[in-house]
Symmetry: C2
């Protein structure tokens, strides 16, 4: 098979390399394939007209379709979210889109645990005191028994649920349907979200951005959260009404937030979010790991190629009608 | 038995109350005891001349001995550290000193997990960027496989070891003797500390302050830590050369620190530690929980009273010759 690996024109930290490719092929026992690496628009146009499979982070493919890709059968995204590929009608007809869902789980769990413990221990308030050189003891109870609601029960949401339960918190998962999930004490359908929010101490957003989830956490829903509740977002900035979140933090209705994703990114200088009260910012890195990211992704690629050859369903096939 | 419960003259958040006492006695099936509550110096003098047992946080007893206490048989400290009772020669001869070792474990584990994940995820650098309104992605790998060294394997150190291993880090415990401990992958004697530091990614101080541990982490030992290592202190400020720690953080040899204890406390306004690079401050609250603290401590008290009556060794008896 012919593979085109496109790297980001603006950033080489996550570059796909020949060495990574060779090592992953050796691990998978694969040989006889051809691979080209590209970065420029010219390399994309030439390569995609030749390749059977295109590999890239979703952001690298933004605005590249439609294009001439007569042989292309598969786009393997080195990302979990596919939102930047829209509109999907621009993609070559019949092409299978796969993502690397799974490589984010370990770091998602670590980030969720960290953010939950920070919010529960009132670290955002402590950071403000430190900035003002103020020593004032701020007490809190253990996180055991606190109520954590996680929107999304997939690649990022389920490790977040596990992280909460590791410390004895009670985890509620929110997904399309109320199908039980082993990483959660209970699961509710997204249609019942409003009944869960008033009894939520910490809300974690860990779902894909789709037409159904865009703006899901409205101002009205944020106001339903119990007084002093905390918010964590490792999904996408557009899942939430960011202005309302800032208003409720500044007003003290919400106790704190730890956010990895924003609208827009990068956050512009002077934007109110930099100085919103009790808000901690990480620059969209929560689930990325430059050391393990590409090797893990390549292993997922070969797992799916083996599934095709065996005539089995590809485990990482994205359902474009749902958007994940 | 006659009990005197002394509360802090300056702070009533952790006051011992009649209701807590009654509930704990009911849980323990105890009755027929007398209790007085005091706060002032006069109440102390009068009460301690009458009581069999004195209950107080260690800091509340600072400077109160020697005093007239003809009946006093036991001092039950609602603290783990006994350092503020020194010199022990001022205490009434033959009095048993007990602490509430054990009530700090759950929050110590949560704090250790939080601080480890923050340092591993480079949160201190992110906070500095946020302060400067700078968006720059800062990547890190999972904490799995990172090397965590915990000085102290008791009430606070062992949950720190468990917290590290929960996320797949490798935990080394440091204690007086190299006796294995179930919460650590290995244990080394404190005399071998210098061999462990160069292969330590994160150093956690969670031991009591004693004559043997005062200043244990010298400038030379901090310099032995691997470049970019992180430091966490939930023990006492005087365990470490704080000036050296600040120097090594400001110079970038150390990657970050999350500290709950300092010399002195409160940290004075204008002290360099407020603005030391990549240093996160919590105001000596890591293991305190106002809701569960006194009830848990009272339960420990009755556990020890039962041991005396049964002629068994008291599980929370402090060895004053060792200081813990």
């Amino acid at each position: 098979m012919r593979f085109l690996a496109m790297n980001d024109p603006g950033d080489n930290l996550f570059d796909l390399t020949q060495a990574q490719w060779d090592e992953a092929a050796a691990r998978a026992g694969e040989s006889g394939h051809e691979i080209r690496f590209g970065r420029s628009s010219e390399e994309f146009a030439e390569g995609v007209a030749w390749a059977d499979v295109l590999l890239a982070q979703t952001s690298t493919l933004y605005g590249r379709f439609p294009c001439t890709a007569p042989n292309l059968k598969m786009i393997f995204l080195l990302s979990a979210g596919v939102d930047k590929l829209r509109p999907f009608s621009n993609l070559p007809p019949g092409v299978a889109v796969l993502n690397n869902s799974g490589v984010h789980s370990r770091k998602a769990g670590e980030y969720a645990a960290m953010a939950l413990l920070m919010l529960n221990a009132r670290v955002p308030e402590m950071l403000a005191q430190q900035r003002d050189h103020v020593w004032q003891m701020l007490f809190s109870s253990s996180i055991r028994g606190r109520r954590v609601t996680v929107v999304g029960t997939g690649d990022m949401g389920s490790p977040a649920g596990r992280a909460a339960r590791m410390f004895g918190a009670i985890a509620t998962g929110v997904r399309t349907n109320a199908t039980p999930h082993p990483d959660f004490d209970r699961v509710v359908a997204v249609g019942d979200l409003d009944t869960v929010l008033p009894e939520t101490d910490f809300l974690i957003l860990a779902c894909p951005l789709t037409e159904a989830t865009h703006g899901l956490i409205t101002r009205a829903r944020l106001a339903l959260l119990s007084k002093g509740a905390g918010v964590i977002n490792i999904g996408r900035g557009a899942l939430i009404d960011q202005e309302a979140l800032c208003d409720l933090l500044d007003a003290g209705h919400l106790g704190g937030a730890v956010l990895d994703v924003f609208t827009p990114e990068p956050i512009p200088r002077g934007h109110r979010i930099w100085t919103t009260k009790n808000l901690v910012i990480s620059p969209h890195v929560s689930v990325d790991d430059p050391i393990t990211y590409n090797p893990d992704s390549f292993d997922i690629l070969w797992e799916n190629v083996r599934a095709i050859r065996a005539g089995e369903p590809m485990p990482h096939l994205v359902d474009l009608s749902r958007g994940y």
